[in-house]
């Protein structure tokens, strides 16, 4: 029991809704004691995959095990190993923060006094002591999220699923949530985190799987993923945005590979096999009298990784432009 080296092992995981394959043959091997990030845009199948692993919905194809325990055949045991914190806080609106934690503690079989004591500890750890007697429907988004995570920790699970834990939180609350996640890993837990924020995966995850339309399109450490796109990237912004495609054609001739047009008008993101090649591109543009307003060379961001892997900009990029 729980003798596996892997916190999560999945092969060929499939979930179909009608004719769409929301999760389409995903393999995962998540080592213990790390943060594993699952990155993908809205509707990529991240949450669906997590729900299958957490026994919330049946697995339609493939196999999965949590710490060596088969998910499909031994769901009750899997539920004893996993703490789940969803995208929308799963707490009871009609109960106070304290009552919520006591309820979940009682459901987990803790004696009344022990449930109350753990509730107090967790309320204190998550800065909710003052709000303990308030109904959770009066909580702010950040407070609900904290209470939700606290509720997932009552059973002291060795594996914690966090489904988009910071979606919709303000930057300060988001930073607090990141600190909490890091602390959980220091305490020895394994964290499986889904996110659509690339910087979040970059900041927290030791390993990242990129998911798009139900399929895993890449996996590696943040650095490996970035390196896969090229050692460095040249970013250009053209003075005349109408000449973007002309510039792209020119770059393709110089480097032998197509650059990506970034969503901001007149922007080009060019993956370089070698930072020195940036000069070639700039000279070619100069000779063609295509003027640029800005140019910089840096290591690719995960946004660019995503763009290169899926051929589509991420939600955050689109929002930034709009």
């Amino acid at each position: 029991m729980q003798n596996s080296d892997f916190a999560v092992e999945a092969t060929g995981l499939v979930k179909t809704f009608g004719s769409t394959r929301a999760v389409d043959g995903i393999d995962l091997q998540i080592p213990r004691g790390r943060v594993f990030g699952v990155l993908g845009p809205n509707g990529a199948g991240k949450t669906t995959m997590l729900k299958m692993l957490a026994t919330l919905i049946p697995i339609d194809g493939g196999r999965a095990s949590i710490l060596g325990v088969d998910v499909a055949s031994r769901p009750h045991e899997v539920r004893q190993l996993v703490g789940v914190t969803g995208q929308y806080a799963a707490v009871d609106d009609n109960l106070t923060g304290r009552e919520n934690l006591i309820l979940f503690g009682r459901l987990l079989g803790l004696p009344r006094k022990r449930a109350a004591a753990i509730a107090e500890e967790l309320l204190a750890s998550f800065g909710l002591t003052e709000a303990a007697t308030k109904l959770t429907r009066e909580y702010s988004g950040g407070m609900r999220r904290r209470l939700d995570l606290a509720a997932s920790l009552i059973s002291r699970p060795p594996l914690i699923f966090l489904d988009e834990p910071t979606t919709g939180l303000d930057p300060r609350t988001r930073g607090q949530m990141w600190d909490t996640i890091r602390q959980l890993v220091r305490d020895g837990a394994t964290v499986l985190l889904t996110t659509q924020y690339l910087d979040e995966a970059d900041q927290l995850a030791d390993r990242i799987a990129v998911i798009d339309r139900g399929k895993k399109v890449a996996e590696g450490t943040p650095d490996e993923l970035k390196a896969g796109v090229g050692n460095s990237t040249l970013h250009l912004r053209l003075e005349d945005r109408a000449r973007a495609s002309e510039a792209a054609g020119l770059v393709a001739r110089v480097l032998g590979r197509e650059p990506a047009l970034t969503p901001e008008a007149g922007g080009l993101s060019i993956a370089l096999p070698d930072a020195n090649r940036a000069a070639d591109v700039l000279i070619a543009l100069r000779q063609a009298r295509i003027n640029i307003t800005t140019a910089n060379v840096r290591q690719p961001t995960l946004d660019e990784v995503f763009l290169a892997l899926t051929g589509a900009p991420t939600e955050t990029q689109i929002k930034e432009v709009a």
Binding site: Q2, T55, I57, H76, Q80, V84, A90, R106, P158, Q183
Partner: protein, 272 residues
């Protein structure tokens, strides 16, 4: 930041293949506690079990009493058991509607993710709702007595009838709990429940003697389990007798529970 997870979190733990009987009981009690807290916060949940017994008992007695039984006093032994059954059965419709509303909320996602018996989120509210049936039954009897009803079965008969009605409400609630787990929305549960409830309570012996009904309707009324319950309640309250009707009523209600409780748990588990 201070430690959030103590060391025991990471060490291997003993896993249980399924919840024990003790687990099921304590989890159901925890769920019932949650339902009672909710009731206390939303007292409007008590409207149907307080206003309805007061209103219906007075209304039906004074409207139908003279016409059906000659006088209101003579009608009371007929109508009080009828209203008793009707009010309690109406009250148990709410169990299904509330469950459906509840299941759409995020907290049910957590219930599903916890290592708890699948019946606990259903059995907890059912247990807490006993309080509502108890209020409905008690109020109806008290209003009857205030209006002049003197049960011939004495205190023992009234108490036995009270228990029978509360048990009947609890049993039938499993039908509505099951509806709650299969319907798409709370409105749908309400609609279907009304469609079941109206024929069951009105096509019975609750309000009028059945002799003047057409033959085919009498047949339906005879096999209607609500009729059995009402007849049993009349036998207990008016005569203090444990008749065959009492036996049939208890048996019928047990059968309903035995069929619909597992159905409800099965469709609830499947929804996940």
């Amino acid at each position: 930041m201070a430690t959030l997870l103590p060391a025991e979190a990471v060490v291997p733990r003993v896993l249980h293949a399924r919840p024990s009987v003790h687990d099921v009981v304590s989890q159901t009690l925890a769920m019932a506690w949650r339902s009672l807290l909710k009731m206390r916060r939303n007292p409007e949940q008590f409207f149907d079990v307080t206003i309805q017994p007061l209103l219906f008992t007075a209304m039906f007695t004074y409207i139908f009493g003279g016409a059906v039984a000659g006088s209101t006093a003579e009608y009371l032994p007929i109508i009080i058991p009828g209203i008793l059954a009707q009010t309690t059965l109406t009250a148990c419709m709410a169990t299904g509607i509330q469950l459906r509303e509840d299941m759409d909320k995020g907290v049910f996602d957590r219930f599903k993710s916890l290592p708890i018996a699948r019946i606990a989120p259903l059995a907890g509210p059912a247990l807490a709702d006993l309080l509502r049936y108890a209020i409905a039954a008690t109020l109806t009897i008290v209003v009857g007595i205030v209006m002049g009803y003197r049960p011939g079965g004495g205190l023992g008969g009234v108490i036995a009838a009270w228990f029978l009605v509360v048990f009947a409400g609890w049993s039938l609630a499993w039908v509505f709990t099951w509806l709650g787990t299969i319907a798409r929305s709370a409105q749908a549960v309400q609609g279907i429940s009304m469609m079941i409830m109206f024929p069951l309570t009105f096509l019975s012996n609750a309000f009028v003697p059945t002799q003047t009904m057409p033959g085919w309707l009498q047949t339906f009324v005879e096999i209607n389990p609500v009729t059995q319950v009402i007849q049993a309640v009349r036998d207990l309250m008016n005569d203090g007798m444990f008749t065959a009707h009492v036996g049939w009523a208890v048996l019928g209600c047990s059968a309903i529970t035995a069929i619909f409780a597992p159905l409800a748990v099965r469709s609830y588990s499947r929804k996940m």
